[in-house]
């Protein structure tokens, strides 16, 4: 049985946080799409801790994955312009 609480609220939290990530102001460095691919791989590695409280039912932590998906979604949908 999948717990829907961490998935729903992680996504909402991620959507709230991701709206404020704006990379247009950064000087000397540019974040391309390949940078976000690397960040995604690192996030999946971090999430491989497993889902709490048992850590064995799912291979990935659903809260971390849904928060990451929320951050990326809202970063690319809402935070594109200044």
């Amino acid at each position: 049985m999948i717990s829907y609480g961490p998935i729903i609220f992680g996504l909402i939290f991620g959507l709230i946080l991701g709206t404020q990530i704006k990379t247009n102001y950064i000087k000397d460095t540019k974040f391309t799409r390949s940078s976000y691919v690397i960040i995604t791989i690192v996030a999946i590695l971090m999430a491989s801790l497993g889902e709490f409280p048992f850590y064995t039912r799912l291979p990935l932590s659903s809260a971390l994955v849904s928060a990451f998906v929320g951050i990326m979604l809202s970063k690319f949908i809402f935070a594109r312009s200044n």
């Binding site: 717990s3 961490p6 729903i8 404020q20 102001y25 000087k27 971390l64």
Partner: protein, 156 residues
């Protein structure tokens, strides 16, 4: 700051924020909770502001954003407490779990967190506290960085 720091700070900030959200959402069954998770999210924001500077940081919150989230955090906590007061007789009574069997079933269903544990309103309280703490700590750092910038301008 150096080029390497600028390359690595934003990815670390994003991962830190994800870990903070995970800590908040596991607060009722694992060590951690709203305050700790909120502080972890704020640490991501602080790292970003320290490395990129206050004007160029990719993670910089507007006044309205801070104001709205802070208010939602505080009001949500109070509203959950008042629901417990009116439905169960005590302020912050856990209407989702209802140990005294005094709350109607539909209210219990509404405030029951969809999880394997029977935690009731505790995860919701963690979420509201997490929102408030992350915005509050970020606001303090943004204000400090802004004051420093003002002082430098005065000296110049």
């Amino acid at each position: 700051m150096s080029q390497i720091l600028k390359l690595i700070a934003l990815p670390i900030s994003i991962i830190l924020m994800c870990m903070g959200v995970m800590t908040i959402l596991g607060g009722h069954i694992t060590p951690g909770g709203g305050f700790q998770g909120g502080a972890m999210i704020a640490s991501g924001v602080i790292l970003s502001i320290l490395v990129y500077g206050i004007g160029n940081s990719p993670l910089e919150f507007s006044h309205t954003y801070i104001e709205v989230l802070e208010s939602v955090g505080a009001l949500g906590y109070i509203v959950l407490g008042l629901v417990g007061l009116f439905a169960g007789g005590f302020f912050l009574y856990n209407v989702g779990t209802d140990l005294n069997n005094v709350v109607p079933a539909f209210i219990q269903t509404i405030f029951h967190y969809p999880d394997v544990s029977n935690a009731g309103i505790i995860p919701y309280l963690n979420i509201f506290v997490g929102l408030k703490v992350f915005v509050g700590l970020s606001a303090i750092i943004i204000a400090f960085a802004g004051f420093k910038k003002l002082t430098e301008e005065d000296v110049d």
